[in-house]
């Protein structure tokens, strides 16, 4: 099986091995494959055994003032919460961010790879890559690994010469341009809040609060989402992190505990 490893190739020539002393280590990076007849069965069993970290709620939407991107921070390995402090909003470069949903290792690796390719594009073409271009680079790589078990559901959000842009890219090879997306196990809950509160003329503060509330509600109902709700804004000057709030504290902020009004209070019995 010949895999498309163009995503792994750097363009820099490998340093200082003219005598080919380390042929294996200077070879271009490629993925090792198990040499077994039932590749799909092996992948299924390997993934079940290894239980890579997954699970999430992420959302992003475009409005008049730019793009708002928000995510939770929980990673689960099967039923075990492996981390409550995962960075799911990945800063590709100062004006473009990506979100992580699905396999944590898959998203981290391919986003880092995308950042490298975007930088190489800048150096080769003396101008920044567009969000359209960046999302296409990622989508093409993921399409070439289609069917091999990668799990990536990501949104690329940025501000380029055409204004704010938002693309959804996934490991099935799908790539969609849109104005409003939510991805992950908690996305149905986030969509409910996001769709009912969305207006294109929201101010930045109102939009951030809408995103925060949507993430909070998703973490409330979805067991695989939780931790800290982070909200980013992408404007003409690049992205900025607006807030990071623990969802446990957000709960009591939105629904403060009201001490119950007690009609008749039972006093302690007097000591005998």
């Amino acid at each position: 099986m010949k895999l498309d490893a163009s995503g792994l190739q750097t363009f820099a020539p490998h340093r200082a091995d003219p005598d080919n002393l380390y042929p294996d280590l200077s070879a271009p990076p490629s993925f090792d494959l198990p040499g077994c007849p039932d590749f799909d069965g092996f992948q299924k069993k390997a993934i079940q055994m290894v239980k890579p970290a997954k699970g999430t709620t992420t959302l992003a939407f475009i409005f008049n003032e730019g793009v708002i991107v928000a995510a939770d921070s929980r990673a689960s390995m099967g039923g075990y919460i492996s981390s409550q402090t995962v960075k799911k909003i990945i800063e590709i470069n100062p004006y473009m961010i990506g979100t992580m949903a699905g396999g944590a290792a898959d998203c981290q690796f391919w986003h880092r790879n995308l950042g490298i390719k975007c930088r190489l594009h800048e150096l080769a073409n003396k101008r920044r890559i567009s969000v359209t271009g960046a999302s296409k680079l990622l989508a093409n790589i993921l399409y070439s690994y289609r069917g091999m078990g990668l799990s990536v559901g990501t949104m690329i959000a940025g501000w380029d010469e055409t204004g704010p842009a938002l693309y959804y890219v996934d490991s099935e090879g799908g790539r969609l341009k849109g104005k409003r997306f939510s991805v992950g196990s908690g996305s149905p809950y986030a969509y409910g809040v996001l769709d009912s509160g969305y207006r294109s003329d929201l101010s930045i503060e109102e939009a951030a609060e809408l995103a925060r509330r949507a993430i909070y509600h998703a973490t409330f109902r979805d067991g695989a989402s939780g931790g800290v709700a982070s909200v980013y804004h992408v404007g003409p000057n690049g992205w900025k992190k607006l807030s990071g709030d623990d969802v446990g504290e957000l709960h009591y902020k939105y629904y403060p505990v009201v001490p119950a009004i007690v009609e008749h209070e039972m006093a302690d019995a007097p000591p005998a």
């Binding site: 280590l25 409550q84 396999g103 944590a104």
Partner: protein, 221 residues
């Protein structure tokens, strides 16, 4: 007995823990190697010192652990020849992540923790899943006893999340000797309830003075 065919993995058990402090890191692992209900050996080290400020502890399948350690040591040697310096812990952390991900379709069945000192001399711990997703944390545990130990570490060491925007101070309050005592206590507890953990505990302490090693006996049953 494990069925062969195209299933080549085996879980040899064991637990590893690491705690990062202000100017030290403690990395510890038990020394038992098991298969099913049998113990192969009580004297197997799961810890490998990759660089003078960087220590790797892994648990999982012993064959992959050894292969991974050898791979990383060899790459570190080449790095030293090419760059004329030793790899820093953050650099090794990203390199380990890439090494694990390049075997995404035929994974290393190892659960790793990398501990050491970062470029400023502060303790750092990086925790990994089997295919390379990683995160810098203040403490971590992996392996068969990991789910037993993690709640205790959370209770003792948990600090405000680094993702909070009104950033809150997140220094691990423990001194080096308190951290070592905590590690001994959690392993004693994990040994009581996990059949794959026990025999001996190997503790490595990395600080500005270098790397120090201690061995403590655990229950052998």
């Amino acid at each position: 007995m494990a069925l062969r065919g195209d299933w080549v993995y085996e879980n040899n058990g064991g637990t590893c823990v690491a705690i990062a402090g202000a100017d030290y890191t403690v990395v510890a692992a038990d020394t038992r190697l098991s298969v099913g209900y049998s113990i192969y050996t009580r004297e197997f080290s799961k810890i490998c010192t990759l660089a003078d400020k960087c220590v790797l502890a892994s648990s999982g399948f012993q064959g992959d652990m050894k292969a991974l350690q050898k791979n990383l040591c060899a790459r570190h040697l080449i790095y030293q020849h090419q760059q004329n310096k030793k790899m820093s812990c953050p650099a090794m952390a990203q390199h380990l992540s890439n090494t694990l991900y390049y075997k995404r379709f035929f994974p290393y069945y190892t659960f790793n923790i990398l501990g050491g000192l970062d470029n400023e001399g502060k303790g750092c711990v990086y925790t990994y899943d089997a295919v390379g997703s990683y995160e810098r944390v203040g403490y971590s545990c992996q392996g068969t006893g990991g789910t037993l130990i993690m709640p205790v570490l959370d209770n003792q060491l948990k600090s405000p999340s680094p993702l909070l925007l009104a950033a809150r101070d997140a220094v691990t309050p423990l001194s080096e000797s308190e951290a070592v005592d905590l590690v001994k206590d959690v392993f004693a507890s994990a040994t009581e309830r996990d059949i794959y953990t026990g025999d001996k505990l190997e503790i490595i302490i990395v600080n500005a003075a270098g790397i120090r090693r201690e061995f403590i006996d655990l229950r052998k049953d």
